[in-house]
């Protein structure tokens, strides 16, 4: 066995024979792809997943890089609720550009939308990360240990899920004073882990009966290490899919709470806030103020949903593509 000179993926035995016929001097060594490589292959072949993830990634890039490329920064913006209504959407930028037209007024829709994409993504991705961690810990512990611990934790989840989340968010933000994007993110995270907990619990419930769990216990591995080191990697695919989809859910949730005025301080340009501000302008025929942030939301959510769909197929070990 020398160095591997060339690695190739062979699909069928016929392909292998063809390859060997073409290169009789090859010394061939076969090795199967591992789960990760197989998943990546399935994902690459999923057209909608590729479209979705490139959409989502470009939105992320716009959100991160965009604000630096625009001629003025966020602080130059006048708060949305202080906009003077005079029949025109407020603009600062002195010449035409794709998102609006010039006026010597206060607002530039392009700057707003680009900043809004960044902030809304930050909030929803942040909330997703926190809520997935909480949900995984609660669901993992409940599902693995079962018994009274499981009963208590899951009844709490049931009780919280029985309440309409969107109103809970409104009540919370009223009490916590809404305001900064950080507060809103934490509210989302504290209310968003419920579904993840249920999902992780159900996966853990089926995994804890696996023989390798007994094998690990026999080897003297501690319970916590079994849950988070041995079982979690096996439960990862559904968690990843759920987390991806919850980003989209948080984007729309943020848009909603900000739109009804209980979300982030109106001066902060999140997509919801921009839409909320656009409400006043749309009647006077200034469609672009409402349409562009709306389109941004739709593209992000669509992209994420397609990506989640593709991930679901790619991470399913039974799928054969």
């Amino acid at each position: 066995m020398g160095e591997i000179e060339q690695a190739r993926i062979v699909e069928t035995p016929a392909d292998l024979e063809e390859l060997l016929a073409a290169h009789p001097d090859y010394d061939v060594q076969l090795e199967s792809l591992n789960q990760r490589q197989l998943a990546w292959r399935r994902f690459k072949r999923h057209r909608m997943a590729l479209i979705g993830s490139s959409l989502f990634l470009s939105m992320v890039v716009i959100g991160i890089v965009g604000p630096f490329l625009l001629p003025f920064d966020r602080s130059a913006l006048v708060p949305v609720d202080q906009i003077v209504q005079n029949g025109r959407p407020p603009m600062l930028y002195p010449y035409f550009h794709p998102f609006g037209e010039t006026q010597q007024l206060q607002y530039d829709v392009l700057t707003l939308v680009v900043n809004g994409i960044g902030l809304s993504l930050l909030i929803s991705v942040g909330a997703t990360v926190i809520s997935t961690i909480i949900g995984t810990i609660v669901g993992g512990v409940a599902g693995y240990f079962g018994g009274w611990l499981d009963t208590i934790l899951m009844r709490i989840v049931d009780a919280l899920l029985a309440m309409p989340l969107i109103y809970l968010i409104l009540v919370f933000s009223e009490f916590l004073g809404g305001g900064s994007w950080l507060t809103v993110m934490i509210i989302f995270a504290l209310l968003g882990w419920l579904q993840t907990a249920r999902l992780v619990r159900s996966v853990m419930l089926s995994l804890r009966g696996e023989d390798y769990v007994d094998a690990a216990r026999v080897a003297g591995v501690s319970e916590m290490r079994i849950i988070f080191r041995h079982l979690l990697p096996n439960a990862l695919s559904p968690i990843i899919v759920a987390a991806t989809l919850s980003i989209a859910a948080f984007i729309t949730a943020e848009a909603f709470v900000s739109f009804v005025g209980y979300g982030i301080d109106p001066a902060t340009p999140t997509l919801g806030n921009i839409l909320s501000g656009a409400q006043q302008a749309i009647g006077s025929g200034n469609w672009w103020w409402a349409v562009f942030p709306g389109v941004a939301i739709v593209l992000i959510v669509l992209g994420i949903n397609f990506m989640g769909d593709g991930l679901q197929d790619a991470l399913d070990p039974r799928a054969k593509i």
């Binding site: 789960q35 023989d211 390798y212 094998a215 003297g220 591995v221 096996n234």
Partner: protein, 367 residues
Amino acid sequence: MKQKPDPTEHGTGLPVSGPPTDPDVLLDVRGLRTYFHVMDGTVRAVDGVDFSLKRGQTLGIVGESGCGKSVTALTIMQLLDIPPGEIVDGEIWFDGRDLLTLRPEELGRVRGADIAMIFQEPMTSLNPVFTIGDQISEAIILHQHVGKKEAMARAIDSLKAVGIPAPERRVKQYPHEMSGGIRQRVMIAMALSCHPKLIIADEPTTALDVTIQAQILELIKKIQVDSGAALLLITHDLAVVAETVQNVAVMYAGRVVEAGPVEDVLLRPQHPYTLGLLSSIPALHKRGRQLDVIKGVVPNPFRMPPGCKFGPRCPYAWDKCRQSEPELVAIPGRAVKSRCFLHELDAATRRAEFDRVAVATVSGETR
């Protein structure tokens, strides 16, 4: 209603409670009762099991499905789900300590380090997301307090010891890249890696095909001799028992019905159940004849018969067997213990008939 087994039942001269007096006894299980409380009632899966195993020796537990042999192993390792399981009574003395009284962290140190276990299903006993090197070295790091590199080197050594070719390459592979036989070798390597005093093998060859079975059995025998560990082998296969262990305990309906040195039990069976098991093995000299079977089925766990649990299926049973249950007693003049009324003096005529059939069965004559 806890019922402590009386001293004669144990029959080894060891104390009924407290650590075994003989320091050579590594594992001493006494009066073990494991019940499962389920919706329809209580299943007495293990109902008063006693056996002991000396250092470096081998013991087989045989019996058909549902007789409690695996539950016994799981109880020793404390792998039961509690609830529904409950260890109702008994003591499990291992190396001077009662495993049932250990705190979880003490138990964690015993498991893996002092007792290792080999499972039935090599296909599912390895975690699919880890390389086998990671899985073997985890226990080594945990119990022998060495670094990752050193642990990996020891993992390679133990793979080499179980006869896996190119172990340096194998440690980087995932379980799905291996066949069942290789995976079972990996499980054995894992069990070996921390130099345990006791290896419990729960039907280690059942899931493998016949040619691999023989290799794995040879390997288990070899590592047992090389490492000097005691071996508790659980199986339903009498041939495996005959080839692998020194002593054997035959279980039926949660109880040990016969125990002793393997040659005595298999060649001069004392209990009708053991005899039934032996006569139902297909053999060359039985060619063309219908296979002998033990008539009837294992009793419903919710409705155990009164008296002897084997009574309803036993061709030698009489009134006494339906009224009370025999104890596991030492047979005078033999090295075995048996749980049967046939050995009592008033059953001499039945006894003679039993002996005649037993001799005929073992020697292979037609009846």
